[in-house]
Symmetry: C2
Subunit: 388 residues, 2 copies
Amino acid sequence: MQNFTYQNTTKIVFGKGKEEDVGEYTAKHGSKVLLHYGGGSIKKYGTYDKVIESLEAAGVEYVELGGVEPNPKLSLVQEGIELAKEESVDFILAVGGGSVIDSAKAIAVGYFYDGDVWDFYYGDAEITEALPVGVVLTIPAAGSESSTSSVVTKLDGMYKRSIDSKLIRPKFAIMNPEITFTLPNYQTACGAVDIMAHIMERYFTNTDNVEYTDRLSEASLKTIINNTPKVLENNEDYAARAEIMWVGSNAHNGLLGTGREEDWSSHGMEHELSGIYDVAHGAGLAVVFPAWMNYVYQHDLERFAQFAHRVWDVDPDFKDLEWTARQGIKKTKEFFSQIGMPVTLKELDIPAKRLEEMAEKATENGPIGSFVELDTEDVLTIYNNALE
Amino acid sequence: MQNFTYQNTTKIVFGKGKEEDVGEYTAKHGSKVLLHYGGGSIKKYGTYDKVIESLEAAGVEYVELGGVEPNPKLSLVQEGIELAKEESVDFILAVGGGSVIDSAKAIAVGYFYDGDVWDFYYGDAEITEALPVGVVLTIPAAGSESSTSSVVTKLDGMYKRSIDSKLIRPKFAIMNPEITFTLPNYQTACGAVDIMAHIMERYFTNTDNVEYTDRLSEASLKTIINNTPKVLENNEDYAARAEIMWVGSNAHNGLLGTGREEDWSSHGMEHELSGIYDVAHGAGLAVVFPAWMNYVYQHDLERFAQFAHRVWDVDPDFKDLEWTARQGIKKTKEFFSQIGMPVTLKELDIPAKRLEEMAEKATENGPIGSFVELDTEDVLTIYNNALE
């Protein structure tokens, strides 16, 4: 186990009807908020009205900026920063999923910065201040509701880049599983893959002696694997929706990475896919992650065998760990298929022609990953292996 | 799953040599600290010197109060409060295990109160303010380093009572597994039982649909079960010490109880034992918990069968869940014995004569527990069943 520092300050407010208390939680941090959200779903299903009512009851003023798209765009972030400055807001309330929250975090750091907020994402400026952010979560997936990261896409050049700072960890995250009843199955499945990927990016590590975080990770994966099919079968299964929602936060709040080196190359490779083709992040991960596993598993057969056995209940063949390891990868891929996710680039309608460009972009700052370091050639091979 | 609110603000600073940074962390919260500790072990093994050196280097003034005993006493707490007031300290630094930390928390709440601090423990006053507390953990067991609770014993009448408030959650907890190398095996084993008990008090619940916290709990228990024997065999097994230490905090920081009703009757019964006989809390729990399990398991055979299967790898007999359930209890008790813990009152040299008095005291505010509510008769039966 490596030395680590860990602190997760986000207050989780979990359960039925909790979005109706958002005004009260917001009022503890601000008096004038930028209410940030995505498309029409929060209006269609009543969440918007409940939030507005609660803010008004708590005497919190608000200005609105909707329109956040999946793979949130820098242009809307810039618009949000202008608006936040003009209106002198002192808090940002994100009502949505990971894209809305990431966009809100970007606005939060841009608020105190005179230059282009992209500087933070490109590594040209350091985050020293941010407006506080609060969340009403509507899609369990990104874990952004209690994470320190934000991912934004710049259309000019199709760059998708991220920042990481404890200053953008949300103050509170209101999580009502009922709000997720109306999520389409495809989006639920994308969320499940994203959550699993957050766990697996930490699970496949070169750090020895990490039994506890291994076991916590396996517990988290099994919970997603058991509950996702239930939710796809019955969208209003509160219990299963709640399990997924709570795992989603813990998968990405840092706990599962304590004391371990993390990998994140699959996320890096996926960002190039969704940066260029605007596919759903979870769908991209369902394609990239198994291809990555197949490319790297021989680096640590014991770890992949443990994954197969503990997560997928594969009976280990101790004389053939390679076979055992492969069963875990196979089952991961089969599970993604079963829940309706693509597992090849072909299924995503992504052709071979720009793979080289993506491989170069993914590695433009040098090799990615730590479990196995991947250079441009490696990334290209993985993309090619994922074609069909 | 029940609705819940969860926030754990303690900063965990984990790893080799980290106690040398205590001055830096302390200086963020205070400039004059009450340094609170137990017997001589922190002086004997060098931790005291490192802490003092670090405080001085950071320019933090300190006054000292040592002498905290296991099952920390109200009298020393009162002395600490006087000293803290006289010296106008603005921070309390606990260097020790659960007893030292609990004593420090008691001083922290007593500092702002004109009456007797026992009023909080007896439920006659409400905690509205507390000095900030920091921790250098030397014994992984109580989980007090990131918990909201404190347990103190009043010798007059032999009462052991607790408080619970987020105001006493430590600001930081420095956890270096190396510091635990010198713990005697008996104390290590007591710690393991205490950690397991914190998990099991939450595991045995009447709340349905708690798969995720079940699995996290099982992961935590398995990690303790695997690593405790390793540490008893090799006291300087850093990896195993680290696993135990990190589980110890997570076992009692609230995470494993999110969305569930908790029980806590075994702790209640044990507090009467250690209140009167001054036995180590973990040793008392090793006696009480299996006796409690045997008394209540028929209330939910499925849950006890799951515990047997997932925690102890018992092959379930689906046609005989009662047998399956009993195997889990048997294995729990055997494990406690194997690591050198008593499993009967006789082994603790506790005779039958005061059991009735203890049963009455344990239930003086009404029945205890929630998985199965226990009245005075029930508690007495459990004590009697634990005799030998």
